[in-house]
């Protein structure tokens, strides 16, 4: 349910940046979302459609690039990418790891028309 809070923040940033760029229409928003965030694309898209209605972001597509869960092992110092949400090092099995990827929730860029 907190997708509404996320979408409101997203929408605010999009409008601010679009106004700064003197855009008249936002056609696409490119997001980078980590697998560990629990982000639900359908919920954000639905909220976005409601918030964007009647604004220059109406009809904008949300494109998501998913970021896998990555860890840095403090034992063997190697990096690994996790296939599931288990966080053990894929090389040596150690659990003494630092999460280095998968928590991202970024607006990477957006495509706009300048009129």
């Amino acid at each position: 349910m907190h997708e509404l809070a996320i979408t409101q923040s997203l929408f605010k940033i999009v409008l601010e940046q679009a106004q700064k760029a003197r855009a008249v229409k936002v056609s696409r928003i490119n997001l980078k979302i980590g697998r560990l965030t629990g982000y639900v694309p359908e919920a954000v898209e639905m909220n976005f459609r409601l918030l964007a209605a009647g604004t220059m972001a109406e009809g904008a597509g949300l494109k998501i690039e998913w970021v896998p869960v990555k860890v840095h092992c403090r034992e063997c110092q190697k990096e690994s990418e996790q296939q599931d949400l288990g966080l053990g090092c894929a090389h040596c099995g150690s659990l003494n790891v630092q999460i280095t990827g998968g928590r991202e929730m970024y607006i990477e860029s957006m495509e706009v028309d300048n009129g």
Partner: protein
């Protein structure tokens, strides 16, 4: 058509306020806890017991987060501790701005500990930094040992995990070894406290750990 680079964190607004809250607590030497658990895990009873263990030696305050009502706040008030109730009106979590607003209605002079009882939920509160020092996850034995595996993010973020309702262990199918193995898998160095808020068993170790986190005001 033009592409603009933004590279902005969607959660920026909350993170900025959380950083302000954190600085605010730090300058006043207040240790702030964000208590996170499912509905019915026994957060409020655990909080009541923690309050009994710390006061009157330490000055405490509580922020209660609930969707609606002031049931929990009344229980805390009965212990003589200042409390502010936040109603999220349907919202599934507290955010940093709500904490900022609640602070203005609390007497924080010489405060040692501020407890924030989040909305009962293991999902959304994981995403919203409140500016706390310690995220404490309370898991109770009747909920099942699979909760860490099913809600990995919150367990990987926690600075302490409490396994509550240990008195019910003989009556429920809770595999303590499996639960702790999954918690360690997600968060290798996190302290895990097995206790019963009802009988008081195990609370001493928790209180000892918590007071070791205390700062200047005592």
């Amino acid at each position: 058509m033009a592409e603009i680079k933004i590279l902005k964190n969607i959660m920026d607004e909350n993170l900025t306020q959380a950083a302000k809250n954190r600085q605010w607590f730090k300058t006043r030497h207040i240790v702030t806890l964000n208590l996170i658990a499912s509905p019915g895990a026994g957060k409020t009873t655990f909080l009541e017991q923690t309050i009994r263990g710390l006061s009157p030696k330490h000055k405490l305050a509580v922020i209660e987060g609930d969707i609606t009502g002031d049931h929990d706040a009344k229980r805390i008030e009965a212990l003589g501790v200042p409390v502010v109730q936040i109603n999220t009106e349907g919202g599934c979590h507290l955010d940093a701005h709500m904490i900022d607003s609640a602070l203005s209605s609390l007497d924080l002079k010489d405060l040692s500990y501020l407890f924030i009882e989040n909305v009962g939920n293991l999902v959304c509160p994981a995403e919203f930094d409140l500016g706390e020092d310690l995220k404490v996850v309370v898991l109770s034995t009747p909920e099942g040992h699979d909760k860490p595996a099913k809600y990995p993010l919150i367990f990987s973020e926690a600075q302490a995990v409490v396994i509550n309702k240990m008195d019910l262990l003989p009556a429920v199918d809770f595999d303590l070894v499996q639960a702790e193995r999954d918690i360690r898998k997600l968060n290798p160095n996190v302290p895990v406290f097995r206790l019963s808020s009802k009988t008081g068993e195990g609370l001493d170790k928790w209180l000892e750990w918590l007071t070791s986190k205390g700062t200047g005001n005592r």
